[in-house]
Symmetry: C2
């Protein structure tokens, strides 16, 4: 897939995955892969910079945790500000995809 398509949606996808419960980076990649039926292979070179960016913007908070067996994980938890941003990004995505489909001549479902 053209990586450029992902541009601008990665932050939203991460926030969405982290929304229900705090998770760590590696798990996010697996989750995104699963939920998109193997379509999105979120690369580490995209993921970790994105996580750091989201934390810097105060949309995520992080803390280290030691897993069962020596392995350390950095958990990320969404903030109130992050939830608000996610809602905005979701709305933007809906508008955007509706716009694209409009140009492609794809019929729109639901409220016209």
């Amino acid at each position: 897939m053209d990586p450029k398509l992902l541009s601008g949606t990665v932050d939203m996808l991460i926030l969405q995955v982290v929304l229900p419960e705090a998770t760590y980076g590696y798990h996010i990649t697996q989750e995104v892969l699963k939920r998109s039926q193997g379509y999105f292979q979120l690369k580490e070179g995209s993921l970790y910079p994105a996580l750091h960016r989201l934390e810097r913007e105060l949309f995520l908070e992080s803390y280290w945790e030691q897993a069962d067996s020596g392995r350390r994980r950095k958990y990320y938890k969404i903030t109130a500000s992050g939830k608000k941003t996610l809602e905005e990004k979701r709305a933007e995505w809906t508008e955007f995809s509706t716009g694209v489909n409009g140009i492609l001549g794809v019929p729109v479902h639901g409220m016209a």
Copy 2:
């Protein structure tokens, strides 16, 4: 709107607009604006480089024409290769937006 979202779709949108008949740059921006209900303001700094790129890749062919009154327009016509690429990009877009909606938990219409 976040300009990053547009990344990767501009080429497809241009090819789609040019598909039914040859058009020129300025008209493409107006058409995209209209068909997306004023949502996509395709900027000249994105449009012209994209047109030149698409021509370089042999997806478009161009020719100059003199309009009624002194104004010159550069018309772009889609090639066979461009039509094939458009089909591929449309398929890619469908997969992509389905993948995003899958992660967002948006219910899918049509064949599950």
